[in-house]
């Protein structure tokens, strides 16, 4: 698993529900033009020119690779639970490195300043100690025991709660968040960030959710997530440099950034440099 290279990774390239039957949809993955097609038998094919690429349909999205993946797509066992509501949230185009987008998703310390009054408030900015580990078997990063005060943790939340989080980085451009479900005690809501690298400094972000929430109208759920990601975009398009620096001397982290530190080290160790700045500019 540790040998996977950049091209041999799986990447999201579109929402299944967005494809019209027998109509080609074009998209760009790491500078390569691809064409997605829902065939007459409803199977989905991905082509680069006339050449067929591997295609998987999972978690509401189409996944492909420019190389030859030697590993299956990551799994989210909870997503198969029929009681959960699966929500496609659409796409947000961001002019930043795909890695900066993932790192921002792993960050909670910005909630009081960027998602003010929703995911955080300035009176409760503290990030308590939490645990981060690399699961060597799956080659994934896990951050656990993350806690934060949130005035409106989700579209379904009534008032402020201490929200518990677990973050998982499944591939360099995929992160999965498990967060306290406001309406079902003891359960985790799942919010994912599937990032499609369009170029080293442009990405399409496909958020997707698997929630326990039968009441909130679909448009409200989507608007909530779109609002959050548009707030994040104002940050992501104003970070200098646009690529994620892997040299630890270039940006100074603090204790709250343990997940980000682990993420940068993990990228460096697996030589994942697409969207990264490896030497000082």
């Amino acid at each position: 698993m540790t040998g996977s290279t950049i091209v041999d990774e799986w990447y999201p390239v579109g929402m299944v529900s967005g494809l019209e039957p027998e109509t080609a949809t074009s998209t760009v993955l790491m500078g390569e033009e691809l064409s997605l097609m829902k065939e007459t038998d409803s199977s989905i094919t991905v082509r680069r020119g006339t050449e067929e690429r591997p295609a998987l349909v999972r978690f509401g999205h189409v996944w492909t690779s420019l190389g030859s993946p030697d590993h299956p797509l990551f799994s989210i066992p909870e997503a198969d639970n029929a009681e959960r509501r699966l929500v496609d949230c659409g796409c947000v185009r961001v002019k930043c490195s795909p890695l900066r987008a993932v790192e921002n998703f792993l960050d909670i310390a910005h909630f009081p300043f960027i998602h003010t009054g929703i995911l955080g408030v300035e009176d409760h900015p503290e990030v308590k100690k939490y645990d981060v580990e690399v699961d060597e078997k799956l080659n994934e990063i896990w951050a656990k025991k993350v806690e934060f005060y949130q005035p409106q943790a989700a579209a379904s939340a009534q008032g402020g709660i201490i929200t518990k989080y677990m973050y998982r980085v499944a591939t360099p451009t995929v992160s999965i968040l498990y967060k306290t479900c406001p309406v079902r005690k003891g359960e985790w809501d799942i919010i994912t960030l599937f990032v499609q690298p369009v170029a080293e400094d442009v990405c399409d972000v496909w958020p997707w959710m698997a929630l326990y929430d039968d009441d909130t109208p679909l448009t409200d759920l989507i608007h909530f997530q779109q609002m959050i990601f548009l707030q994040d975009r104002s940050i992501l398009e104003n970070q200098i440099p646009r690529l994620l620096p892997l040299d630890p001397k270039l940006e100074i982290p603090t204790r709250a950034d343990l997940t980000s530190i682990a993420y940068r080290r993990w990228l460096k160790r697996r030589h994942y440099t697409y969207g990264a700045q490896t030497v000082a500019a």
């Binding site: 300043f113 300035e122 503290e126 990030v127 104003n238 940006e251 603090t254 204790r255």
Partner: protein, 230 residues
């Protein structure tokens, strides 16, 4: 000696003093460096490299609290010496002195905020003007703008006066028909974009400012259309 866009200027006229209010932060450029320029509530002006040392966020998107500038991303607060004073995620932590913004030399003189990319001993040359008229953007290079100002700035701006335009390292100066002195300080933003800051020696009536402003707009139309014709 005329300055050219290839020569780094020692002092760059970056903003009209009167237009940067206490508690305000703006983005500007000095020798192609992205700069966050801000005024503390005490009145002190600071110019810093426009990136937070934490995660590279542009500090010009931040907010001023008292005499500190806070980054909008995580609220890290920086004092006038550039040092980080407060990290909200860890309210009890005293930030190490190594967390520090990159500062530029910055002074206020003659109604302008001047920034230098190098630490220099000499102040900018004194100018006879200190009252803000306006700032504006010209979509041409600094060299093209400066040459054009010398060539026919006087015929557009002197309002019947016969005074010639005088070229200095900061930009140009001229005298209007009624003997009002004007300074036009020129600041390079990018190879295609130049800021121009206009000041007068006496405080002008609103009517007079509007008149000068209209002439500047006409001058801009001419200079930008000439640039496109090339």
């Amino acid at each position: 000696m005329p300055t050219t866009s290839n020569d780094p200027c020692l002092w760059v006229p970056a903003y009209l003093s009167d237009l940067l209010m206490p508690g305000e932060v703006v983005q500007t450029y000095v020798d192609r460096n992205d700069v966050a320029l801000w005024r503390a509530h005490s009145g002190k002006v600071n110019a810093w490299s426009n990136r937070c040392p934490h995660r590279g966020m542009r500090l010009s998107h931040g907010f001023v609290r008292g005499d500190m500038l806070a980054c909008i991303y995580h609220g890290w607060h920086y004092g006038s010496d550039g040092g980080c004073k407060y990290i909200p995620a860890h309210p009890d932590l005293e930030p190490p002195s190594t967390i520090c913004t990159d500062g530029f030399e910055c002074i206020e003189q003659d109604g302008l905020i001047w920034i230098s990319p190098e630490s220099s001993a000499d102040k900018p040359d004194a100018l006879p003007t200190r009252h803000a008229v306006r700032s504006m953007t010209f979509w041409v290079s600094k060299q093209f703008l400066t040459d054009a100002l010398v060539k026919y700035g006087s015929s557009y701006l002197a309002m019947g006066g016969s005074s010639a335009i005088i070229l200095g390292t900061f930009g140009v100066s001229l005298t209007l028909a009624d003997r009002t002195k004007l300074t036009i300080a020129v600041q390079e933003i990018s190879p295609q974009e130049t800021f121009l800051h206009v000041l007068s020696d006496v405080s002008l009536s609103a009517e007079k400012k509007t008149g000068i402003s209209r002439n500047l707009d006409r001058l801009r139309e001419r200079i930008e259309s000439e640039d496109q014709a090339q």
